[in-house]
Symmetry: C2
Subunit: 424 residues, 2 copies
């Protein structure tokens, strides 16, 4: 793991995969064909990309029950406990509609309503994580979304991984379709004969899924488009090298393009971590991925003082930030940009991936500068509420009409003045 200078941290930035021209064209074509041909196109693309011909693409109740029977009871217990923690945290994110009254009788406010229907994309194969199901579905449920649809690519055997179905069952999600890739996003956005369109699509996926989400954005809403995972650790002499190293490696195993950075004021810790990373990675089953990730996007930055270190952390704007210092809360107060902040020696990043409660869908690639974790807010929208009183209009009507005329909008002015009979 290399030691770099502060000004070199930007060199570690990886942008979101924008796909090739060919991939973008292919995605546009898939979306167009699903829009015009519906189920027929979906079936064709599933045959082509997933290698399986499905006459029935909605998962049946029997399939869900079968999956549930097949998994270990102990695992179901852990899953249930995790789901309860995640639900508890997200319930605290709920906002109330509010209003404010004026003495002139006017009322102004904001009304909050859930979106009608949300579509959750769950990746297939080895990336079919129960935790992803939880992190996307639970905020939608807490928001009050009435209809939650899940889509996930079938394996060559036409099946969906049991873990995904069990997670869905635990949450009470029953509308699940075996469809993946751009065709799944198109079906969610525009609907087919058998899948009614949704209003919001979330969930991670490969480059085709990401490109398709970008393409349908505007016709439906989407969550952010995630890049490879990343962690930054801000640590001082109080941190233990082997713990910091293990946390850095936990991000590195996700993807060869994942990034793991230690920012420290301690030369001793820097050396300890360097050594421990080297030692620990040798025995990891995903060694090749970890090695590539650490070599290309892993780094240690040694700073002269805490101020410099925090400024570096803000520059990185990491998806995951661990603060393992003498006073982590005080340092956290100075952090401006991070997806999730893990404080103190016990808050190893994986604690947040599965179990603690906060969402693991977080802004990557420096987008924590302007984006937030997936939350209940993503599944609601607001309406302004304006109830103007007669007294208010009498008092302010002329000013409003004058303002409208100054902006050149005569009909606006007249709409106000039509009411003059009511107050003169």
């Amino acid at each position: 793991m290399k030691i770099i200078q502060r000004n070199e941290v930007t060199s570690l930035k990886r942008s979101v995969d924008q796909g090739t021209e060919e991939q973008r064209e292919s995605v546009k074509k898939i979306i167009q064909e699903v829009r015009t041909e519906g189920n027929t196109a979906v079936k064709r693309f599933t045959e082509l990309f997933d290698g399986v011909s499905l006459d029935q693409w909605q998962v049946t109740e029997d399939e869900i029950d079968e999956a549930y029977e097949s998994v270990d009871g102990e695992f179901v217990k852990i899953l249930s406990e995790a789901a309860a923690n995640i639900r508890k945290f997200h319930e605290k994110q709920q906002s109330n509609s509010w209003f404010h009254t004026s003495e002139d009788g006017s009322i102004l406010g904001q009304k909050i309503t859930p979106v009608d229907a949300a579509g959750i994309y769950v990746p297939g194969g080895t990336a079919a994580y129960p935790s992803s199901v939880f992190m996307n579905v639970i905020p939608a449920q807490v928001a009050g979304v009435e209809r939650i649809v899940m889509v996930t690519p079938p394996g060559k055997d036409g099946k969906v991984p049991a873990g995904v179905l069990v997670s869905a069952k635990l949450l009470g999600v029953t509308e699940i379709y075996k469809v993946g890739g751009a065709q799944a996003i198109a079906a969610l956005a525009y609907g087919t004969e058998s899948l009614t369109a949704v209003d919001k699509i979330t969930g991670p996926g490969n480059v085709f899924v990401a490109l398709a989400k970008r393409e349908v954005f505007g016709d439906v809403d989407i969550d952010m488009i995630a890049g490879p995972s990343e962690i930054a650790v801000l640590a001082d002499d109080t941190a233990r090298g082997e713990e910091v190293a293990a946390d850095l490696l936990s991000q590195a195993e996700h993807d060869a393009r994942s990034s793991s950075v230690l920012v420290t004021t301690s030369e001793k810790l820097a050396k300890d971590v360097q050594q421990a990373v080297h030692n620990q990675m040798e025995t990891l089953p995903r060694y090749e991925i970890v090695k590539a990730s650490i070599e290309d996007y892993g780094a240690i930055v040694i700073c002269d003082n805490k101020k410099e270190a925090i400024s570096t952390i803000n520059e990185i704007a990491a998806e995951h930030l661990e603060i393992v210092t003498e006073n982590p809360f005080e340092d956290m107060a100075k952090v401006k940009h991070a997806g999730a902040i893990f404080l103190g020696p016990y808050s190893s990043e994986p604690v947040g991936d599965y179990f603690a409660g906060p969402n693991h869908v977080l802004p990557t690639s420096g987008t924590a500068r302007f984006s937030s974790p997936l939350s209940v807010d993503d599944f609601v929208k607001k309406s302004s509420v304006i109830s103007y009183s007669g007294q208010a209009l009498r008092e302010h009507g002329d000013k409003i009409a004058q303002f409208a005329r100054l902006e050149g909008l005569e009909a606006h002015a007249r709409a106000i003045e039509t009411r003059k009979g009511r107050w003169e």
Copy 2:
């Protein structure tokens, strides 16, 4: 104004202008050139599109003062009062960071921080509205954004409309650049030698601005891409035809593609409104625009009962919704989708455009199904905060490690287990 059937309302939907292939290519080229050539490219495009050669493109303090001197004092007073109302409303949107403690010593929470820098696009010419400046800048200020940059295209005389500069001065915005179109968006997103890049871009613009915003989305955040304005009015026998008609026409004057729809249970009101629209539009200065808008996208839907009427209103998901019925609050409670809801006979839509306080940047084209008015929330982002305690890790560590292994992520499990020494 035509009377249509309930199931015909979808025919009034207009989608957001996606631009032509040529426009999209042109926008990509402009962005690329601004990214590589910076100021030089900005200057070139300003010459090309705005017909003026500027050596200094940042607005000077003298120019701002000069504009301020040139406008009517009475207007400044109205502007100030409107700004105060808008600020007051948006202050109520502020959220607190929060945390929740567990008896095991763990703390979970959510920290809210403003984006560092916001860029506000203000259109030029006749669309250079002071109210737009207010509606975009004030939420950013209330959010606590430290740096707010305004961009607006210069006229052929190299000047910016006085109303825009006066509005900026009233709000204390001083960093203003004379640049418009895609080149302005590119400069805001990627920076040039003299304009430091921002994190979030908001504000309306023509098709080039909209396409550029869509193009830079991801590298910076953007607000929604707005389509033509629209209004739906839900009214019964208690409403007055001439007032409803005047409000419908106030939207129609924005754009030939604006949409104005009355949904009513009253045949009498339908006829009154039809007649009044016809009469009132004759004398409007923007008659041609209004006529085209009403003919193409204006309509009256007569429903059998209130339930049907509200269901139609939810289908439309209008940017502006007026409810002029016997019990507007009760009806509002049943409305699921609308950008802003105006209640009762005094809440003429223009009340909200300038003066009452809520934002006039609202979701159009049915996107109220999943989007919200521009708000303080658009200029902040959240970070999850996780401070796990030793007791919590002792209690749940094994489960977390087991969960990680079941998802095939061994390094995640080991990151937890490296801490075992701390609790065993």
